[in-house]
Symmetry: C2
Subunit: 217 residues, 2 copies
């Protein structure tokens, strides 16, 4: 049995939960409050970040992109056409590039600052430090449009972000976008392809399960 240390508000954790749910891999889930810097967790991942997947060989796999590689190398070939990571070189490069875009660039500019704001609220709910940083939230929300426009441009060539079928790239994008809902009430009226793709992603059973907690453990 796999064990996932995660936080419900962590976009990287959501990405991994979407992968596990799409593949229907049974997993025991443990909520980790990284700001508590729990000693046993720091042994699993000295960087102190979620998610961490403890795999059947009892090895701790940290970081969303590394977990995605591990899941593909261990289980990917069982899924044939539904595999979420391509086997051809150019497909692999494109999926990894977009994983870096969403897990790296989007997280740095948008979902990371918003997640930190959310965590701050848990850490210090009643102190001054627990107050919202409205300028930071406004900056992050403003940065989203550039990414939405980029997704729109990718979808002008193909149905899914990295090609002709659903891949890790779509799951990472929707996971990071999902943590912005709480803060950013933006309407993307001008982005028809983005909206259609976003709706398609949000109506998938995996997405519903991850966001509503209907998760099989």
């Amino acid at each position: 049995m796999l064990t996932l240390f995660h936080h419900p508000d962590c976009p990287h954790s959501r990405f991994v939960r979407l992968i596990l749910r799409e593949y229907d891999l049974p997993v025991r889930q443990v909520i980790e409050r990284t700001w508590e810097r729990r000693e046993e967790f720091l042994i699993l991942n000295p960087a102190g970040t979620t998610p961490v997947l403890v795999c059947q060989e009892n090895i701790a796999v940290p970081d969303a992109s590394i977990i995605a590689e591990y899941v593909d190398e261990t289980y990917g070939k069982n899924f044939g056409d539904a595999r979420l990571f391509p086997v051809d070189i150019s497909g692999r490069i494109e999926v990894r590039r977009l994983l870096d875009w969403f897990n790296g660039k989007f997280f740095k500019e948008v979902s990371g600052p918003l997640t930190d704001e959310r965590y701050k609220h848990y850490m210090m709910p009643s102190s001054d430090s627990g107050r919202r940083d409205h300028a930071l939230i406004a900056d992050a929300c403003q940065s989203i449009e550039h990414h939405v426009a980029y997704i729109e441009s990718l979808l002008s060539k193909q149905d899914w972000l990295a090609g002709v079928q659903l891949s890790y790239a779509d799951l990472a994008a929707v996971a990071h976008l999902s943590v912005t809902d709480y803060f950013c009430k933006a309407a993307w009226n001008g982005y028809g392809r983005f909206n259609a793709w976003h709706e398609r992603m949000r109506s998938r059973q995996a997405f519903q399960s991850v966001l509503t907690g209907g998760w099989r453990s």
Copy 2:
């Protein structure tokens, strides 16, 4: 022939140049000034960052960690025992974890801010904005010791960062450490294993070539 778009002061570029030099793969090198946001370069990598490797199939591979994966998948098996990325699951997880540590965490806390300072000098050498941010430099230099202590702890168990032989992890670490020399004059007297490993890494022909420009194109 491979083509690498890089900058001599970019630690991610140095990491990739070390890999290519260790494997003795011929490469044409092009210096890219990312702050100029050259249109042709943004087509190769919309994120606008170095390094980018244009491979023989004429595909642009962005990002140091993605290039490392590409080089391993394409050339790795030719190098037998000298392969820089293990083939066993736990070895792969450990090397990827440390790549994320140095290309991610160390870059965020240390080598990234220092590289930005260096770039600022190229971008605006004579203006006020070109002046050194001494507080930022001091912060980054102070953060190094935590990483040096971490490397020391890894080396208490084994000769190389990720195990019994040289791997991508050692090359990434030394590449990111190398861009700190210009700003941080720290003595790591208390870290004997770190110093011995660092000296071993710096005396490798690949390291000498990358830092002195003695590169075969």
